[in-house]
């Protein structure tokens, strides 16, 4: 009779350790593309090496020219980067992977913004760290939700 509470306690302890072990890797790999503006800011990502060009006032939210220049810090290489528009219904605008990581990269495209917001570019470096850049744009003609 005395053994029962002991077994229960050990069992609970083991379950807690197991659940903890399962949760921690999930917490480590932060899904940046699902974060809000507030949460992105709270990540305190290094704001360096990423130069963005976006018109401060977009003619239309449907097609906004956007250019990116990423320069990795010394001895680092860029493995991938994401363009994130946190206020869009689908915040992950573009994910670029470089199979041959480069020390610098530039590209341009045209994006859609559902409303005025900050656009983030977060780059993953070869040492596992991230660098980022942010740029705002004001949108008067909202994309994504218009009925035309």
């Amino acid at each position: 009779m005395m053994k029962e509470p002991l077994l229960k306690r050990t069992f609970l302890k083991q379950m807690t350790v197991l659940i903890g072990a399962m949760l921690s890797p999930c917490l480590m790999a932060i899904e940046t593309s699902s974060l809000s503006e507030k949460q992105l800011k709270a990540l305190n990502l290094k704001q360096e090496g990423v130069v963005l060009d976006l018109p401060p006032l977009a003619d239309t939210g449907n097609s906004i020219p956007f250019s990116i220049q990423i320069q990795a810090p010394r001895q680092q290489l860029i493995q991938s980067f994401e363009i994130i528009a946190p206020e869009n219904p689908n915040p992950l605008v573009l994910k670029v992977t470089l199979p041959n990581p480069k020390s610098n990269y530039r590209m341009a495209t045209r994006i859609r913004l559902a409303m005025s917001q900050n656009v983030w570019v977060i780059a993953q470096l070869s040492d596992g760290s991230k660098i980022s850049g942010v740029i705002p744009s004001v949108v008067t003609l909202n994309a994504c939700f218009d009925a035309t």
């Binding site: 449907n62 250019s67 573009l94 994910k95 470089l98 041959n100 530039r106 341009a108 495209t109």
Partner: protein, 96 residues
């Protein structure tokens, strides 16, 4: 010209329907149909490998920079949308 960086612009004709637009007098949603994947290569080397979301404008335009290699260079673009439609285009990069 060998070793010089040149800009390569790629324009793909595709409506990039987000799935949020209403058609037919505001009654029905136009179904989502976007390009998912785009790969731009210089010969065998991948210059851009991208996964696109609804946040890329219709008729996706990409501008990338390539370093002109010595010898023949073929720029190729492969794309695939979420309905399984694929496209490919190639262009020879001629250098002096």
């Amino acid at each position: 010209m060998v070793g010089q960086q040149v800009e390569v612009k790629v324009l793909i004709g595709h409506p990039m329907e987000t799935g949020y637009r209403l058609g037919d007098g505001g009654n029905e949603r136009i179904p989502k149909n976007i390009i998912d994947k785009v790969t731009i290569r210089l010969n065998q080397e991948i210059i851009l490998q991208a996964e696109l979301g609804t946040g890329i404008a219709a008729n996706p335009l990409f501008s990338v920079f390539v370093t002109v290699p010595s010898g023949a260079a073929m720029i190729s673009v492969d794309w695939e949308d979420d309905q399984g439609v694929k496209g490919r285009a190639e262009k020879l990069l001629v250098s002096t």
